[in-house]
């Protein structure tokens, strides 16, 4: 007999496609629970919409959804959520995933030269510089098939039975890019704010947040990993744009896995959340 271990995952619900993430998280949780019928541990997932800091305080992990990044950051600022979010991401180092607008908010630096500065503030957490609306306006929005190596069973830290016997060819991930940002530069982790970035024109940076020594002792400073690129087979481009990155507990995608009905990335991320919870609670 084993009791169920509660895990609460929040989706920031200030504006945008938050409900779509909750739907995909529910599907991902089902997939995980089917896989884990053999194991002794059972997770009791709760997926909640987060609109204030009391709700945020109940979360083990958070998704910042797609939406309008300026609207989300302005609403967050005015209802006193920006600082609690920075604490959640950069001080407590809770697992956080940003999609599209969420990726912009999680970036330490944003290029505002091609656009205009409209009250955008950043939470930070990912040492990258993003470029908003990189591909242009809505008429330039598109879908593309991505190959995401981190979804391959052979690369997974938790190997499934099939992967040991034969290499599985990955089904491409159909990704939807809507007025999407990209990571235009991967930055080196620094103490404090990205000062070099801040000195440049048309660049905004996130304020820094120091970890408490107790938390810092548990986390090493990690470099940004590029987890996915957009290869549209254009001539003259050796590598595609960076569209998925991870740094420690922070994960960002410039596309919208919550619009596809393909829960693979949600499963992968939720498994990471489970590992983090196990580590934090010493389970």
């Amino acid at each position: 007999m084993s009791s169920e271990i509660p895990i609460t995952v929040g989706v920031l619900a200030l504006q945008g496609a938050f409900n779509e993430h909750i739907q995909l998280l529910r599907e991902a949780a089902q997939t995980i629970s089917l896989r884990e019928t053999e194991s002794k541990r059972k997770w009791k997932f709760t997926f909640s919409e987060i609109r204030n800091k009391n709700e945020l305080a109940t979360c083990d992990a958070l998704i910042i959804p797609g939406g309008e990044s300026t609207a989300i950051s302005l609403v967050a600022e005015r209802c006193g959520m920006l600082e609690p979010l920075r604490e959640f991401v950069k001080v407590s180092r809770n697992p956080t995933w940003g999609t599209c607008a969420g990726l912009i908010l999680l970036a330490e630096s944003a290029n505002t030269s091609s656009t205009k500065l409209g009250g955008q503030s950043l939470i930070g957490g990912l040492d990258v510089r993003v470029n908003r609306n990189h591909f242009g306006r809505q008429t330039e929005s598109f879908q593309a098939n991505l190959f995401l190596p981190f979804l391959s069973p052979t690369n997974s830290t938790e190997k499934s039975e099939e992967s040991s016997s034969k290499e599985i060819k990955q089904k491409p991930f159909r990704a939807i890019f809507i007025r999407a940002p990209i990571v235009e530069k991967v930055l080196s982790p620094v103490q404090g704010i990205q000062a070099q970035e801040a000195s440049k024109e048309n660049i905004i940076v996130a304020p820094s947040k120091e970890m408490t020594p107790e938390i810092a002792s548990r986390f090493t400073v990690e470099e940004v990993e590029v987890l996915g690129r957009l290869d549209r087979g254009k001539e003259g481009e050796d590598e595609g744009e960076i569209i998925a990155v991870r740094q420690g507990n922070c994960f960002g995608t410039s596309f919208h896995p919550e619009l596809t009905g393909d829960e693979r990335i949600h499963v992968w991320w939720l498994e990471g959340v489970v590992r983090d919870v196990v580590g934090r609670r010493g389970l």
Partner: protein, 319 residues
């Protein structure tokens, strides 16, 4: 075990076809999923009518998720009369240059050339709108062939489904624009809700008859009945003037709110705009609603729809 407390009645499933009858993930990259995707990104947000770049900036700084660029807000169209048309492309471009959020623009009902022009400028959404003078007495624009997504108004379920079948990727209530009286938006939202509730209890056989009665395509009606909501994002519009109005429409099941004359025809536009944005996020939290409703200054004067002549109402345009 799953805890499903967060499931809302108005959830729009990610696997729904969004009412699209073209094959899922069709070869073309500009397909319906991308069009409805932007509408999903606007959910829980406020789209504001603006007539120049300065207002567009105020709207963006207030936290609008998009702006609707038009030459005159509905209250002025109402007051000044005459034929109301698509806005000057130059003015729309200026607004597009000023803000980073999506820019929408209105075309007259049935005026597909205005739509072509708006597409050529590169606006992010086209509103085929009854607020402008209709250009065609019979036909609405065929919207699927455009790469720009469309939003259209409705008063009832049949009208909504006809627009979706023509290619609208987003629906809004018609309400009664330019009045500051929310009664018509409420009427239209309640009508759609009760028609869907009714349809969702029906068998396919009964739905075929209902489809005929409300002049809606059967397949779309069946999908709507199964989902228990419209298969695309649905915003409130037409008469929203206060944070309480906006939250009312959200509690009735709208996915977001358009505010037209309500903001820039009021005393302190910036403050009211910010308050309505907060009200749409925190629509279920009366304490927040009370805070943001405080001291907003003069609301737009408003016209009482119940004493208006039928000929003065814009909602009867389109069919």
């Amino acid at each position: 075990m799953l805890n499903d407390t967060s499931k809302m009645a108005t959830e729009l499933p990610t696997r729904s076809t969004n009412g699209d009858r073209t094959p899922l993930n069709a070869a073309g990259e500009e397909n319906f999923t991308v069009k409805t995707g932007l509408a999903r990104m606007l959910k829980g947000g406020v789209i504001m009518d603006v007539v120049n770049a300065e207002q567009a900036r105020i709207a963006e700084e207030a936290g609008a998720v998009a702006v609707m660029a038009l030459e005159r807000v509905p209250a002025d169209i109402r007051a000044e009369g005459g034929v109301s048309r698509m806005s000057d492309p130059k003015m729309i471009r200026e607004i597009m240059k000023t803000v980073t959020i999506p820019v929408m623009a209105k075309a007259r009902i049935g005026h597909f050339v205005e739509c072509q022009i708006l597409e050529a400028i590169g606006v992010d959404y086209i509103d085929e709108s009854e607020v402008l003078t209709p250009a065609d007495a019979l036909y609405h624009v065929e919207k699927h062939p455009f790469s720009v997504p469309f939003v259209c108004g409705c008063r009832n379920l049949g009208e909504a489904l006809r627009r979706i079948s023509e290619g609208a990727a987003m629906i809004r209530t018609k309400g009664e624009a330019g009045t500051g009286d929310v009664i018509e938006a409420v009427r239209h939202m309640r009508t759609v809700n009760s028609e869907i509730a009714h349809a969702s209890k029906m068998s396919d056989t009964e739905l075929r008859v209902l489809a005929k009665d409300i002049q809606a395509p059967f397949e779309l009606l069946r999908e709507t009945a199964r989902l228990g909501r419209l298969p695309v994002v649905n915003f409130a519009a037409g008469g929203v003037a206060t944070p309480a109005d906006a939250a009312l429409m959200m509690q009735l099941g709208c996915d977001g709110v358009f505010v037209g004359s309500g903001i820039f025809k009021s005393g302190d536009a910036s403050k009211r705009a910010k308050a309505i944005v907060q009200a749409v996020t925190h629509y279920n939290d009366p304490k927040v609603l009370a805070e943001v409703s405080e001291d907003l200054g003069e609301a737009m004067v408003g016209l009482n729809v119940s004493v208006m002549d039928a000929k003065d109402k814009m909602q009867g345009r389109g069919w």
